[in-house]
């Protein structure tokens, strides 16, 4: 039996990158989550898999729109008409999947929940639970059905396995307990970076977010094809997202003129090119003479001639040895200044003034706890700007 496993599609949730300021890219990716989901359905039909698994977070609570639900039903019906049934569960973002409020999804689409935790397709029993709250502190595992004898058993669970760092603690579950539950395969969701865990004949698959939305999700962009045969399940990751996020570093310290800078940037961008999908690149530049602003302008010029690579962000910093130069009075004194109580208060006041002017959604970027990081950047920025603008 072949299964296509996906999770965390977050339909309706947009890509968040300055790279989308590029009109072509912005236009191509304005419906990225929907387009990627349609590609998943296409893949399931083309490969004629026996079932499609969706392990929660199909929608996104920040974009609650019933149109997304209609889109989901249309796409899953398309798969069902082509002979591919779908088994899915709700995640912590899936209020729109409430079957009591919105009804069933259709023929060949099996939403598993407490009232109907198991469905049998062919020789395989699929088990799953959907919970209604956005935050669940306890493990779902004890409530999952026992293994059905003489069948293959596949579980779907939305969980922060072993309390994964960087994710909301949603239905945390110990990996050891999961693998010992008696199922042959676990299709997991919630963690946006893909991974697989194998324990003897048992396999757990976290397929990751199919279309990464920001730099933090750069490891995503895939779905997982699982084959259940006689031995241990076999798996294969398939790239699916239209846009990937990457990062690259370039040292411009030795560039004698602007032409060399342009050549170095072009080499980095060409290396970042990836066949079949666009890349939003975060660029870390080591330089004594170029501010991030200037690098951004030069990069834009270079990228006009490089297909499929777009600039997400530029981080410009001086070489490490210069940052700690004992002989640089200004650096030394600025660092001393940072520890002055009066200075910190003045800095907090500046930060607050700016924060209050920001839209509430992004005010967190200038939270007080960001102060130390911002000050470090500020010291480096002064040095960089000073050296960049002074050739005397």
């Amino acid at each position: 039996m072949r299964l296509l496993v996906s999770a965390d599609t977050h339909l309706g949730s947009p890509i968040r990158s300055v790279a989308l300021r590029n009109p072509d890219l912005g236009d191509r990716l304005k419906q990225a989550s929907r387009d990627t989901f349609a590609k998943i359905i296409d893949l399931a039909i083309d490969e004629q898999v026996d079932a499609l698994m969706l392990a929660g977070d199909i929608f996104d609570n920040h974009y609650p729109d019933l149109k997304s639900r209609a889109f989901l039903v249309t796409q899953l019906s398309r798969a069902a008409d082509a002979g591919v049934p779908t088994v899915l569960i709700r995640g912590n973002h899936d209020a729109l999947l409430d079957h009591r409020a919105h009804g069933a999804l259709g023929e060949g689409i099996h939403l598993l929940h407490k009232g109907a935790p198991t469905v049998v397709i062919g020789d395989t029993a699929f088990h799953g639970l959907s919970f209604d709250a956005a935050h669940v502190a306890k493990s779902f595992l004890p409530d999952y059905p026992q293994r059905v004898p003489d069948k293959r058993n596949v579980g779907l669970m939305h969980t922060s396995l072993d309390g994964a760092a960087g994710h909301d603690p949603y239905a945390p579950c110990a990996e050891r307990d999961l693998m010992a539950h008696g199922y042959d395969l676990w299709c997991l969701g919630h963690i946006h970076a893909p991974f697989e865990r194998a324990d003897g004949p048992v396999l757990a698959v976290m397929p990751g977010i199919p279309q990464p939305r920001h730099f933090g999700e750069r490891r995503g962009g895939s779905v997982t094809m699982v084959t259940l045969g006689e031995g241990a399940p076999e798996y294969e990751r398939r790239a699916i997202g239209q846009l990937g996020f990457g990062e690259a570093s370039v040292d411009l310290s030795d560039c004698a003129d602007q032409q060399q800078v342009l050549r170095s940037l072009r080499a980095v961008f060409l290396e970042a090119q990836e066949a079949g999908r666009d890349t939003a690149l975060r660029l870390h530049v080591t330089t004594e003479h170029h501010t991030a602003e200037l690098i951004t302008e030069l990069a834009a010029e270079v990228l006009e001639g490089v297909e499929g690579v777009f600039l997400d962000k530029v981080k410009s910093s001086p070489p490490p040895d210069q940052q700690s130069a004992e002989s640089d009075d200004l650096l030394r004194l600025m660092r001393e200044e940072l520890h002055e109580a009066g200075f910190r208060q003045a800095a907090l006041d500046e930060l607050e003034a700016l924060r209050l002017a920001l839209p509430a959604d992004i005010a967190g970027a200038l939270a007080e706890e960001e102060l130390d990081a911002l000050l470090e950047e500020a010291v480096a920025e002064v040095a960089l700007t000073l050296h960049a603008g002074d050739t005397a």
């Binding site: 309706g12 947009p14 890509i15 968040r16 990158s17 300055v18 989308l20 300021r21 912005g26 304005k30 419906q31 990225a32 989550s33 609650p64 729109d65 019933l66 149109k67 997304s68 639900r69 209609a70 889109f71 939305r213 920001h214 004698a256 003479h289 602003e293 040895d321 210069q322 130069a325 004992e326 002989s327 640089d328 009075d329 200004l330 004194l333 600025m334 200044e337 940072l338 002055e340 003045a346 800095a347 500046e350 924060r355 002017a357 920001l358 839209p359 959604d361 992004i362 970027a365 200038l366 911002l374 500020a378 010291v379 002064v382 700007t385 000073l386 050296h387 603008g389 002074d390 005397a392």
Partner: protein, 1133 residues
């Protein structure tokens, strides 16, 4: 750090060039002026120095034009703190590029610590200055508006853009956000986000919105269902009205038809097509009657024909005999076809046969064998051709033999007598070549002369015992270099150590004096002293109590006073004791340093004496005076090595000349021996005799070779003639074998050749004669058979049979044809009669059947006297009326089917009513309109609900929202970074001003006044609300803000700041070389002198290197700076 020497080993246009920066004399400033014209490579030199310190930059190298980048190499002797002089080299590799003098990699840490962590750019900014930098620095510090922190920072770092940097950062932050700013990035972005938010909220399909749409759709569905029901009811009533009308009309029709049927005969309905069936039967009966009559007449007519054609019994034997005759053939062709011509043909063939027999006889006569059997000489074509071929073979072989014998005779006559065979001169030629190779000695003699001249030139200027020095062995170049370097280093170190020792001695003397002074201070009393004075006082008191004398009283008073004084000093002497302890510590430190310096000096002195002794030994080994300078060692070594090479060349040239003379004598002996063995005259000029003999040998050798080639050709021709004779014999034998069995009169080649035409004719005539004999015989057999057949036919026909056989056969054939035709007519008549009798019998049967069928058509019908045609027409009319009645009844009954019974009854009671149908149609139209309207509304509601669900979400807006938020988030961070950076920088600059003002301001003022006097007398600092400001003071006492100074003055202020910065750095970290590149070329002499004095101040703290291409600046430097070193830029080659 000090730069002692810069080695431009392979760099730019320089190859193995060096610039030495001499150390100044004691007390003189360390200033070196490097003089060179424009394009002499000053920039290259400075670049090389930077790359030595910090490594080569990656990528294409600006100075890799003479040498490949990988071959570039620079070096230097640097004096490093705590290490002393170190020779380093730097190649262009990415790693391990820093090397020691032996090209071994050394750690970068050695230089990094000496450079105090400065990067290349920071070093360049701080420790180099050119005219452009000076000018622009002056202009740019105006932007600082006199800010003390910024100015001091500019002086320290060399960076002048602080003001612009802070302005740029503030502007960047303001572009993002500024209070009450309307066009800021944040304001524009926030406004757009609000619009997007509103649009997204409006577009979002919430549960409530969807519920409203769904309910609207459901209500429309209910309304549609009601209208649809009403329409169906209107349709039902209309149908009931229409059915009632039909019922009413059909009932009247049925009544009329019943009335008409009552006048027509009873009986069942005729089957379909009954009238046509009856008509058909009547016609059939008539036709059958006619056909029976015609059959009877035909039978009678055929009986007559049969009687007229009786049967002939001779037909069968006649046909058999004629068939047999038709089978007979002559030469493959039917006999009967040629029966009439066979007789005449037989006679002609017999004549032709006799003619051929006569020709055979003639041929035998020509062959002169008239009695021979023709079959013995009538050869087959293959045998004839073989015989002709054998004759031709004999003729050809005979001709070839004649030709070969003629050619051999002609060659033999041409060859003539054999010449004398020449001698073998190979050995003589080899000996002659060997002699000629060594005959000329002039080249070796000239080489010897050149070597002697070179040696004479090389030893000029060397002592007379130069060859003894070389024989004794010369020291190695590396040894000389090491010793010279060690001697130079030790000399410099010794001078440095002497200087240091003097300083330490002075420090020790000062510390000793200070210690003594502190010791001598009255309040330096320690606790032990107070205890001692107390014990003395108590002891004296005890003595005074015992004696109570004036003397003891005085003594006690003195002791008590001393004790009180000691205690008073002790109580007030804490600071003095502290000073004393410090003086003691300083004294110990000074002693230790002095001892160390003394020890270092003594050690160096010892090592230099040892080095001096080694130098003396080496000088003697080189033929120099024992006290000669090591700098002369290398030159002398090179001269001695050159002389040694020249002497060796002379010896080699002499040896070569002698060897060549030996070779020449040996070659001459060999040549004479070879000539003698051949009998040549060796008495005179042997080479001439040999040369002539070798020259004649060529022509003799050619004549001998030519005669030998002719003899060989003659032998070949003889061989060929013999071969031809053998071939002729073989051909003759073959011909004989072939003619042995033939009865020929002449069997020679010519005889056989002459008989060949007759033999060919005999073969042809003999064959034709045989064929003709066979044909004549066949004709005779055929004519006999024809006659026999004619007689048999005559017997069958009853004739005598003695006539012409051909005529008999023709008669028989005519008789047979006539009998066969009569028989055919008789057979035809019999067959037709039989058919006609059978047809008549069938017609009788059909007639009876038709009459029975016609009667059946009217079975069970009422009886009638009418003929069948009229009777059936009446019955059909009756059946038509019956059918109309049934249709009317069916239509009447069908009208009620499917119609509501109550509505039908209701409508039927209304009839007759002429307007009722129109009323019902209008009611249906009205209901239809209402239903259609409801249907459209329902569909629209469903479409809206469906379309709303299926509509593309506003992902474009959500994406724009997310992108914009990202932009603003990043922009906010950058703005915060800029604002915090400005905040931190301003704070740091205030701190810098506070920290450095005390140490730098004096230097700034001194340098500024020195440069600008008498226009300016000093600088001052004003405290203002926005920080401290530097101002200049004029002789009148007026103060002038920095930004109001002239450009030139600001440049001089900037130079003063840089000078103060250098001195500050040198004090804190230690000195580094400062490189000044023609900064004074626009100064007048007065300002230039002042600037040079300031350079001397740099040299007093550290090391100043001045590049210039102005000779007058060199003179000014010599005039202004005591002990200044002036060196020239090295040549590039």
């Amino acid at each position: 750090m000090r730069l002692n020497r810069l080695d431009l080993i392979r760099y730019g246009r320089f190859s193995d060039a060096e610039i030495i920066f001499p150390k100044p004399a004691q007390g003189a400033p360390d200033v070196t002026v490097v003089f060179g014209p424009n394009e002499a490579g000053k920039s290259t030199t400075f670049h090389a120095f930077l790359e030595l310190l910090f490594g080569f930059k990656s990528g294409q190298h600006p100075y890799a034009f003479r040498f490949e980048r990988s071959d570039l190499l620079v070096g230097a002797e640097l004096e490093l703190p705590e290490r002393g002089p170190v020779v380093l080299r730097r190649n262009s590799k990415r790693t391990q590029s820093l090397l020691d003098a032996s090209d071994r990699p050394v750690s970068e840490g050695m230089l990094t610590s000496a450079l105090h962590g400065l990067t290349r750019d920071a070093f360049e900014e701080r420790f180099s200055l050119n005219e452009k930098g000076l000018r622009e620095g002056g202009e740019r510090i105006a932007g600082a508006q006199g800010d003390l922190g910024q100015l001091l920072h500019a002086g320290l770092s060399g960076l002048t853009g602080m003001s612009q940097t802070l302005d740029a950062l503030s502007a960047r932050a303001d572009r993002f956000h500024k209070k009450r700013g309307r066009g800021t990035v944040l304001k524009v972005g926030s406004d757009r986000l609000k619009v997007i938010g509103q649009e997204l909220r409006a577009d979002r399909l919430t549960t409530e919105k969807e519920r409203r749409l769904r309910e609207d759709r459901d209500q429309r569905t209910v309304a549609f269902d009601a209208a649809d029901t009403a329409l169906r009811q209107a349709h039902q009533r209309q149908a009931a009205g229409r059915a009632a009308q039909v019922w009413y009309d059909r009932a009247a029709t049925i009544e009329e038809l019943s009335q008409a049927l009552s006048d027509l005969p009873d009986g069942p309905d005729l089957p379909a097509g009954a009238a046509a069936h009856v008509a058909g039967l009547i016609e059939k009966i008539t036709a059958l009657s006619v056909r029976i009559t015609e059959s009877d007449a035909e039978i009678a007519k055929l009986d007559v024909v049969i009687t007229e054609h009786p049967e002939d019994v001779a037909v069968v034997p006649l046909r058999a005999e004629l068939d047999r005759l038709d089978q007979l053939t002559i030469a493959g062709a039917p006999l009967m076809g040629r029966a009439s011509t066979a007789q005449a043909d037989l006679a002609r063939r017999v004549d032709e046969k006799a003619e051929l027999a006569a020709q055979i006889k003639d041929a035998l006569s020509r062959l002169r064998v008239p009695d021979a059997a023709p079959s013995a000489l009538a050869l087959e074509p293959d045998a004839l051709e073989a015989l002709a071929g054998a004759v031709q073979q004999c003729l050809t072989a005979h001709q070839s033999l004649g030709a070969a014998e003629s050619a051999a005779d002609a060659a033999r006559a041409q060859l003539g007598d054999a010449p004398v065979e020449p001698q073998d001169l190979t050995a003589l030629r080899a000996a002659f070549d060997a002699w000629r190779g060594v005959a000329d000695l002039s080249a070796a003699e000239q080489a010897q002369e050149r070597a002697l001249a070179t040696r004479t030139k090389a030893v000029a200027g060397l002592p007379s015992h130069w060859s003894a020095l070389i024989d004794a062995g010369l020291p190695a170049r590396e040894t000389l270099d090491d010793v010279a370097r060690e001697w130079t280093t030790l000399t410099a170190d010794l001078a440095s150590a002497r200087s240091d020792l003097d300083v330490r001695a002075a420090e020790l003397a000062a510390a000793t004096a200070d210690h003594r002074a502190q010791e001598a201070a009255p309040d330096v009393v320690d606790l032990a002293m107070t205890e001692q004075t107390r014990r003395k006082r108590d002891m004296v008191w005890q003595r005074h109590r015992d004696g109570l004398t004036p003397a003891s009283a005085d003594e006690f008073e003195d002791a008590m006073t001393a004790d009180d004084g000691a205690r008073a000093h002790y109580l007030s002497g804490a600071e003095a004791r502290q000073r004393l302890r410090a003086a003691q510590s300083q004294l110990q430190t000074a002693k230790a340093r002095h001892d160390t310096a003394q020890s270092l000096y003594d050690g160096l002195a010892t090592r230099r004496e040892e080095a001096q002794m080694r130098c003396g030994k080496l000088a003697l080994a080189l033929g120099l005076a024992e006290d000669a300078s090591p700098s002369a060692f290398v030159g002398r070594l090179q001269a001695l090595e050159h002389a040694a090479d020249a002497a060796a060349d002379v010896v080699n040239a002499q040896t070569a000349l002698k060897a060549r003379e030996v070779d020449q004598n040996s070659a001459r002996d060999g040549l004479a021996q070879a000539a003698g063995s051949l009998g040549l005259d060796t008495g005179g000029d042997i080479s001439t005799v040999v040369h002539r003999a070798l020259t004649l040998e060529d022509s003799n050798r050619k004549a001998w070779d030519k005669w030998q080639d002719g003899a060989q050709a003659l032998a070949d021709l003889d061989d060929r003639a013999a071969q031809c004779a053998e071939n002729y014999d073989l051909a003759q034998a073959q011909l004989d074998r072939m003619t042995a069995a033939l009865p020929l009169a002449d069997r020679t080649v010519e005889g056989v050749q002459a008989a060949l035409p007759d033999l060919r004719q005999l073969h042809q005539v003999y064959a034709e004669h045989g064929k003709l004999s066979t044909r004549v015989e066949a004709l005779e057999h055929a004519i006999d058979a024809l006659k026999t057949g004619a007689r048999r036919l005559a017997r069958i026909m009853g004739d005598a049979g003695d006539g012409d056989p051909v005529q008999v056969i023709d008669d028989a054939r005519a008789r047979l044809i006539a009998s066969e035709r009569s028989g055919e007519k008789r057979e035809d008549a019999l067959r037709r009669r039989e058919d006609t009798v059978a047809a008549k019998q069938r017609a009788d049967t059909d007639l009876a059947n038709a009459e029975a069928e016609l009667a059946a058509c009217f079975k069970r019908q009422a009886t009638s006297d009418l003929p069948p045609r009229e009777r059936v027409a009446l019955l059909e009319k009756r059946d038509g009326l019956r059918a109309e009645k049934r249709v009317a009844e069916n239509e009447r009954d069908a009208a009620r089917a499917g119609v509501d019974a109550d509505l039908f009854d209701e409508e039927l009671t209304r009839l007759p009513d002429a307007t009722r149908m129109a009323e019902l149609a209008q009611a249906v139209t009205d209901a239809q309109d209402l239903r259609d309207t409801a249907r459209d509304a329902e569909r629209e509601a469903a479409r809206v609900h469906r379309a709303t669900l299926e509509a593309a979400d506003r992902s474009d807006l959500a994406t724009e929202q997310a992108t914009l938020q990202e932009e603003l988030r990043e922009g906010a961070r950058q703005a915060a970074v800029a604002r915090l950076g400005v905040l931190a920088a301003r704070g740091a600059l205030r701190r810098l001003a506070a920290e450095r003002r005390s140490t730098m301001l004096r230097d700034v003022e001194a340098a500024f006044v020195a440069m600008t006097a008498p226009a300016w007398t000093g600088v001052d600092v004003w405290s203002q609300s926005d920080g401290e400001k530097l101002v200049g003071i004029q002789p009148s006492g007026n103060t002038v803000p920095v930004e109001q100074m002239s450009t030139g003055t600001m440049g001089q202020l900037y130079f003063a700041l840089r000078l103060a910065g250098y001195r500050s750095f040198a004090r804190d970290m230690g000195p580094l070389p400062m490189v000044l590149d023609d900064i004074m070329e626009t100064f007048d002499d007065t300002r230039a002198r002042a600037a040079l004095k300031l350079c001397a101040d740099i040299g007093a703290e550290g090391q100043a290197i001045l590049f210039t291409h102005h000779a007058h600046l060199v003179d000014l430097a010599r005039d202004t700076i005591e002990g200044v070193a002036v060196v020239d830029m090295p040549d590039r080659a």
